[in-house]
């Protein structure tokens, strides 16, 4: 047993795609604005808006539980009509509230994971064609095939 062959493959079909989530223009605008707050442009980092997140969101959101997905979509819709400064303020409030112990802080921690998770996951996965983010942060892990 083990890896005597080149690669071991079982006689099974490869993975199944889940159902596609449909993002409206409002959802995408909400992501864009949140992205500008969470990952603003900087001398080292390309702005979130430069990576064209809308192309990659399905690869994340499609796999969420239905109720989590619905909640995120509602928040993104809200963000689409909120001024940027209010989104920034909301994120600061979430960071503060997330430090509260027990159930009091729970909604803030959930929001923190969901909102930062949405932006960081797409951003730091270095999904774009020009793939610059990993090199900016000195991350060059590899497997030589």
């Amino acid at each position: 047993m083990g890896n005597n062959n080149k690669y071991i493959k079982l006689p099974l079909p490869d993975y199944q795609e889940p159902k596609k989530t449909v993002f409206t223009r409002a959802h995408l605008k909400g992501v864009e604005k949140l992205g500008r707050v969470v990952m603003p442009e900087d001398s080292d980092f390309p702005a979130f808006s430069e990576i064209g997140a809308e192309k990659y969101l399905n690869r994340m959101v499609d796999y969420m539980y239905e109720d989590d997905k619905s909640a995120i979509l509602i928040i993104l819709k809200l963000f689409s009509i909120m001024p940027q400064i209010i989104i920034k303020w909301t994120m600061s409030l979430i960071e503060t509230g997330a430090k509260w112990q027990g159930m009091l802080g729970a909604p803030f921690r959930m929001l923190r994971i969901a909102l930062k998770g949405l932006i960081f996951t797409v951003y730091y996965s270095d999904v774009t064609e020009n793939q610059t983010i990993h090199s900016k942060i000195g991350y060059d892990a590899k497997i030589v095939m």
């Binding site: 083990g2 079909p13 994971i113 930062k116 999904v127 942060i137 590899k142 497997i143």
Partner: protein, 468 residues
């Protein structure tokens, strides 16, 4: 889809969940000549198809799109969903349990075979099929060196880690942090490249992309019904059912199926792990080479109920651990290559509970009690000492602890009032249903669990075999 080619009934044993336990049970029973079917909610990936981007690994290899939370949202639960379960995404560290762990299991369960001597032959059998290796000193990275130096500086004891791996070709420049999304060179000893490969060659049937949603027993036949990823429903049946869907998966399936034992979902433990980062003047490159190297091996730590390991994670995970957003976040993230990381894992004493909501989704109630917090703080204090004594400029505790050793929920024991499963791994409530995975743990051992899960699964297979 595979279901078209596979019979839905007539099996001796239907196994739900293909992680460390389900795969070992399937392999053993198949070898013993039983007609087995292995069901898995996740998809099948292999060396050439594992997702390459962290975004896709999180989505495609875990439940809930990457992370689930307890009700207080202060523990991030990582629950694998892929053929091979945790063996695909885990760090593959192998540890036998010590006397402390087994004695506390015997105390809790009343079961006498929980001791190193009686279980040695099962561990040995696992070692015959799962290659393991001490992380080679030459390929340990600077993060490991900081850990070792910090231990020496503080008079703590540490030991090299042993990992289920073979021929990782570090000399070619491979970085094992990549295999947290599945090993692309088949070196990590995951289930599909070891026991499952063998069992499939010997006739084991596997259905992936099928989530078991209901379990019923009718006229000596177990019926598992559920849904394929494409939305179609399906049903499979066999004489015996083995539940190996891990703590949350088993409890959820049993509760949604109307099983009534009051201890189902109770006594749930996670070894909450807190990753602590530290910023150094020079690059640490914690992601390079064999990204883990050492564990604590200090009797005082063990007595105090925590362990430390040097560890690391890819960028999305590290970003999620950092505090703040915007500039505050970027200030640290731009120096990601200068970060070292040590984690403390607490041997948690406060049992949590898994239940289900009206929609059938698992609800995870789990908090830390005073004792757990004391253990945690002792561990964090030791980490501070390690980093401070090795010249860290700044110490950054991760923003959320992680639970990835999911244990209990169908605990084993001699007393049918306090345990769900008897010493032969059969459910008290229905003797044709077996539980063989980490959900049977009676408490948190404070040691990496996968080796023991595999060993106990072999033992459980012997009990099941006796029924035929």
């Amino acid at each position: 889809m595979e279901k078209d080619k596979i019979n839905s009934s007539g099996y001796d044993v239907v196994i739900v969940g293909s992680g460390c336990s389900g795969s070992f049970v399937a392999w053993k029973l198949n070898k013993a000549g039983l007609n087995c079917l292995l069901l898995e909610a996740g998809s099948y990936f292999h060396a050439e198809s594992y997702p390459r981007k962290e975004l896709d690994s999180n989505s495609k290899l875990y439940w809930g799109g990457g992370i689930e939370l307890n009700t207080e949202a202060n523990i991030g639960i990582l629950r694998p969903k892929v053929l091979g379960g945790g063996s695909i995404v885990n760090q593959a560290l192998l540890d036998r349990f010590d006397d402390l762990a087994f004695d506390s299991w015997t105390n809790e369960s009343g079961i006498e075979y929980f001791n190193q001597k009686d279980l040695a032959r099962y561990y040995d059998e696992v070692e015959e099929v799962i290659a393991s290796q001490e992380i080679p000193a030459k390929f340990r990275n600077r993060n490991a060196a900081i850990f070792e130096q910090g231990f020496t500086n503080n008079g703590f004891q540490c030991a090299p880690l042993v990992r289920a791996q073979k021929d990782c070709k570090y000399e070619d420049g491979n970085d094992c942090v990549e295999c947290l999304g599945g090993c692309r060179i088949d070196s990590k000893q995951s289930m599909p490249v070891t026991v499952l490969k063998d069992a499939v060659d010997n006739g084991l049937k596997i259905v992936a992309d099928f989530e078991a949603l209901n379990l019923s027993m009718e006229k000596g036949r177990g019926i598992v019904s559920g849904r394929f990823t494409n939305g179609e429903s399906g049903e499979f049946s066999g004489k015996k059912i083995v539940l190996a869907a891990s703590s949350i998966g088993n409890a959820r399936l049993l509760l949604n199926s109307g099983f009534k034992h009051p201890m189902i979902g109770r006594k749930f433990f996670t070894h909450p792990q807190h990753m602590v980062l530290a910023l150094y003047e020079e690059a640490v490159n914690s992601h390079k080479g064999a990204f883990q190297g050492f564990k604590s091996n200090d009797p005082n730590f063990r007595k105090s109920g925590f362990k430390l390991e040097n560890v690391y994670a890819p960028p999305v995970a590290i970003a999620m651990l950092l505090p703040g957003f915007g500039r505050t976040h970027q200030e640290i993230m731009r120096y990601m290559s200068h970060l070292a990381c040590v984690e403390v894992a607490v041997r948690d004493t406060n049992p949590g509970r898994i239940t289900v909501n009206k929609a059938g989704r698992a609800i995870i109630i789990k908090s830390l009690n005073k004792e757990d917090r004391i253990r945690w703080n002792k561990g964090l204090h030791a980490i501070d000492n390690i980093f401070n004594s090795t010249g860290a400029k700044r110490i950054i505790p991760g923003s959320i602890p992680i639970g990835l050793h999911l244990m209990g929920g169908c605990s084993i024991g001699m007393d049918s009032n306090t345990a769900v499963v008897d010493q032969d791994f059969r459910m008290y409530e229905n003797q044709d249903i077996y539980v063989t995975d980490s959900s049977l743990f009676p408490n948190a051992p404070g040691i990496n669990p996968s080796f023991t899960i595999m060993a106990l699964s072999i033992k459980a297979s012997e009990s099941i075999k006796k029924e035929f």
